[in-house]
């Protein structure tokens, strides 16, 4: 039993350090997602820079932008095409709650990615800065491994 636990832990450690996101941008936040992968912020440092175009080879779906009602079935389908274990980051206010576009007579958008797929980490902002996305990914690592790199920053008083 202990050995299986160890194996699980090693696997989780590997998973947390190799989160391959999908090339999947919906709107404004996608640009910041690209910026996070580009030279200055470089998601690749954390092993999360391998953007795979095919959902079959991804671990992480970054819902970057507003999900319109027309797009929602495609988002669900893409999520279903990803192999388990898989995670979702809702990036930006639109993916969290509809953001600035949600109001009572809004007809076109899905107010929140969590209405259609399970979301692990929410990164607020309109759009979040790349640093925010990186923190979101580190949070996700923390969630996967139950220990994290972020703690040392958070404990600083």
């Amino acid at each position: 039993m202990i050995k299986i636990g160890l194996l699980e832990e090693a696997l989780n450690l590997a998973r947390a350090n190799s989160l391959w996101p999908m090339t999947f941008g919906l709107a404004c936040c996608a640009i910041e997602m690209m910026a996070a992968g580009a030279a200055r912020f470089d998601l690749d440092r954390f092993g999360a820079g391998v953007f795979r175009p095919s959902p079959r080879q991804c671990d992480l779906m970054i819902v970057a932008g507003t999900i319109s009602k027309k797009m929602a079935p495609a988002v669900v389908r893409l999520w279903e095409q990803m192999p388990a274990p898989k995670w979702v980051i809702a990036m930006g206010n639109c993916a969290i709650s509809g953001g600035p576009f949600y109001y009572p007579t809004q007809y076109a958008i899905v107010p929140g990615a969590d209405l259609i797929i399970p979301v692990d980490v929410y990164v607020p902002g309109c759009p979040p800065r790349p640093e925010g996305l990186i923190e979101g990914i580190l949070m996700l690592e923390e969630k996967i491994t139950k220990r994290g790199r972020l703690r040392k920053f958070r404990d600083v008083k």
Binding site: F24, A27, A39, T66, S68, A74, L78, T105, C126
Partner: protein, 369 residues
């Protein structure tokens, strides 16, 4: 297994999630072998109902939306909307504010073009220029971040001026950036413009004639690449643009290469405008004196156009004398620019199709609004 093909053609579905559709565009391709018989773009995957929103908010509340219609050249959209509302309520903008608008909008234009160059090379399979462009772009974002407070979806202009003045550090930063970008041209030339594969992929592909431009209402680099010197900054001068000396680069053949070159040269012209504006920057207020607290224009309508990185953005506002606009129509450039896609992608290969689609420089949420 694939079913045996009884018909000669078959359907290939490109998108809505596909690496080269820049977001959420979907194109249904009818193919014969690797050749495209018919391309049918299916837009609307980024439809957020901006125009419907406009009817439910007052003029000021709708302002932040403009940064989200076209997030790559957000400041031009800010500019167009502010201009339209200012015309509607008859507001004069102080000169210094106009200068600041021009400087920031041109910086934003360079950022947009840089992103296009990077993303376009990514479409063609070259990854490295993408990161080079982003590296340069970050410098602009730093500058704009300083005065606007955000990196991407700016909401910086107000009716009657700008809320924040620029300081010496920003001016120095702009000059340093201009110097840096000019040095980088050589890198781009060597890496991209003179690259034989790039030339082979872009010369003579996706040719648009002048007549086609007119029939489809193309604007911006798409029209200029075909040799039409149509640039709102010159042909319908607005803001402080008449005060500056700059050229409109145009192409000859209307192919992808020309559109690329037009955009590259436009960046140089934008640098020129920025430098002139910094030299001539007048002193004075940055906000009009009498800006009404509650904007309630008389019944009427107005159409104001600005030149964005993708072409003409026209803001058409109809007012019925209410605090809310009766109707706002956003004439977005990419909508018309994309509508020519079925025409020019007929009988091309998939690879060319990707190249043509990329050269249009679409921003899908802008098309869908």
């Amino acid at each position: 297994m694939l079913e045996p093909l009884e018909e000669k053609t078959y359907i290939l579905n490109l998108g809505p999630q596909h690496p080269s559709t820049h977001g959420v565009l979907r194109v249904v391709l009818e193919m014969e072998g690797e050749f495209i018989v018919k391309a049918d773009p299916d837009i609307g995957y980024g439809h957020r109902g901006h125009e419907h929103m406009a009817e439910n908010r007052n003029y000021l509340q709708f302002l932040p939306n403009m940064g989200r219609v076209d997030y790559l050249h957000a400041l031009a959209f800010n500019h167009g909307y502010c201009m339209a509302v200012e015309k509607l309520i008859g507001l004069e903008v102080p000169e210094r504010a106009e200068f600041i608008r021009v400087i920031t909008a041109e910086l934003n234009r360079i950022a947009s073009h840089l992103l296009w160059v990077g993303a376009y090379l990514l479409d063609l399979g070259a990854f490295t220029p993408f990161l080079y462009c982003f590296d340069d772009r970050e410098n602009i974002l730093d500058l704009l971040d300083r005065i606007t407070g955000s990196r991407l979806t700016y909401c910086f202009y107000r009716f009657g001026g700008v809320p924040q003045d620029i300081d010496q550090e920003f001016i120095d930063g702009c000059r340093a950036f201009a110097k840096r970008l000019r040095r980088r041209w050589k890198d781009y030339d060597n890496l991209v413009t003179k690259n034989i594969i790039f030339i082979e992929r872009t010369k003579g592909i996706g040719v648009i004639t002048k007549e086609q431009c007119r029939l489809y209402g193309l604007t911006g680099p798409m029209a200029r690449g075909s040799g039409i010197p149509y640039d709102i900054r010159k042909s319908e001068p607005y803001s402080a643009y008449p005060l500056f000396d700059f050229e409109i680069p145009i192409g000859e053949n209307g192919d992808i290469m020309d559109r690329y070159l037009v955009r590259m040269r436009e960046m140089e012209q934008s640098l020129r405008i920025i430098e002139q504006a910094l030299d001539k920057l007048p002193n004075g207020p940055i906000m009009a004196e009498k800006v009404p607290k509650r904007i309630k224009p008389a019944a009427g309508e107005v159409y104001a156009a600005v030149e964005t990185a993708r072409g003409e953005f026209g803001c058409y506002i109809v007012s019925q004398g209410d605090v809310k606009p009766y109707r706002i129509k956003l004439r977005v450039p990419s909508f018309a620019n994309l509508s020519i896609l079925p025409e020019i992608s007929r009988d091309t290969l998939v690879a060319d199709f990707v190249a043509i689609l990329g050269s249009i420089d679409v921003v899908v949420p802008e098309i869908d609004r």
